[in-house]
Symmetry: C2
Subunit: 236 residues, 2 copies
């Protein structure tokens, strides 16, 4: 297209083609595909097609698919959870961290399963660290701190996994509210003898906000931590 005359380009960018193939670019485009088509849509061949190269070339930058998914996960989550504001009270700081992870899991539904599957990868460890600093202000012993932080981490990541499962449900095309209406009606029609509780919360299912329910769970854990500190609620 462009007529390329003899222009003295500054030698800052030694690119060899329009978009040089770097590991970052591979990961970025992989994230695009993941967001559009989910985990099953991401193949080395689809990735190669979009990057306009052979699929073998990609594997020079990332060894295998697991590494590719891991890198995409790390890039997103790390930038999502920043340092806590130094003046924030522990509860607020934990909210910030938890919701940071939650929102990013909501925006990239494939993230949930990925984070669940990676036990103590650097990304997970960093979230653990950030949560732990706040928990440390609320618990006395290291063991209590370890337990409480583990609980928060397990809950947060578990929520993401379930969010991902919901997003990838049978009819993903259907509207969320329409799906909740159908499910709520199903719950309401269950056998009262076997599903007395589920029936009783059918309306809550219909009107609930995933995010609000998520935060409510965080607050329950935090309240549990706090009640333990004050010595109240230990004998339930």
């Amino acid at each position: 297209m462009c007529q390329d005359g003899h222009v003295d380009k500054p030698k800052t960018v030694p690119e060899r083609r329009a978009g040089a193939l770097t590991r970052d670019r591979v990961v970025a485009v992989a994230t695009e595909i993941l967001d559009e088509q989910g985990e099953t849509g991401l193949t080395f061949r689809a990735l190669a097609a979009r990057l306009q190269t052979g699929h073998g070339a990609i594997q020079w930058h990332v060894a295998n698919k697991g590494e590719l998914l891991g890198a995409a996960t790390a890039a997103i989550v790390t930038s999502a959870v920043g340092e806590a504001r130094p003046d924030a009270v522990p509860r607020q700081a934990v909210h910030d961290i938890a919701l940071g992870v939650f929102d990013v899991m909501d925006a990239h539904p494939w993230l949930g399963r990925q984070l669940v599957g990676s036990a103590w990868e650097p990304t997970t460890l960093w979230v653990f660290e950030l949560l732990g600093r706040q928990v440390a202000k609320m618990c006395t012993t290291p063991t209590d701190q370890f337990n409480a932080t583990s609980a928060l981490l397990t809950y947060i990541i578990g929520a993401g996994g379930r969010e991902a499962a919901n997003a990838g449900a049978p009819e993903a095309a259907r509207e969320r509210q329409e799906l909740l209406d159908t499910m709520s009606q199903f719950w309401g029609g269950l056998d009262p003898r076997r599903y007395e509780f589920t029936r009783s919360v059918a309306e809550s299912l219909r009107t609930h906000s995933d995010r609000a329910v998520f935060v409510a769970g965080i607050d329950l854990v935090l309240a549990g931590i706090n009640s333990k500190k004050t010595g109240i609620g230990t004998n339930i």
Copy 2:
């Protein structure tokens, strides 16, 4: 081998071969393979080989792999979580349910990922129902009950997913304690400025029991529920 004379067999068992191929048998053998080799080891071909049939035959009984995994999951979990003892206090009953799921996830590491991935399948819904009945004795409004039960379910299933991730870690062959020692040493050697908290709980990691940490998390949520009921701990 056996000489088959004209024996009048009772016509109770119309079996056509030693082990007739039923859906239950397919699921049972699939579970065997899953326990031995994990999710990647379960293929229709491997299953067919062990069942001594063609791999197409299996697909007459179970339509696809998802259904196979779902059936295996349902069979195990349903039998693991029984009805709660009527005389148990809520906390004890929740422990029974939660530990029932945890132990079965621990025995079948592939279960975790499977339960995380199935959002509101009958199996999950049943655990939700059982948990909810106990929570209903501790919370007032349906919304609080819904939120609290969701939190417990998310935590329990999330824990199973992370357990599964740990079991499928790089060197699965290594002993658990050896792996914890290595990890603990790594945590202890982290940069004190970036990982002050993680460093401080390195010893807790080394000596912790997965099951105890799991229960501690359950108790935090329960304490949170209780503190909300008593109106204490709402302002953390």
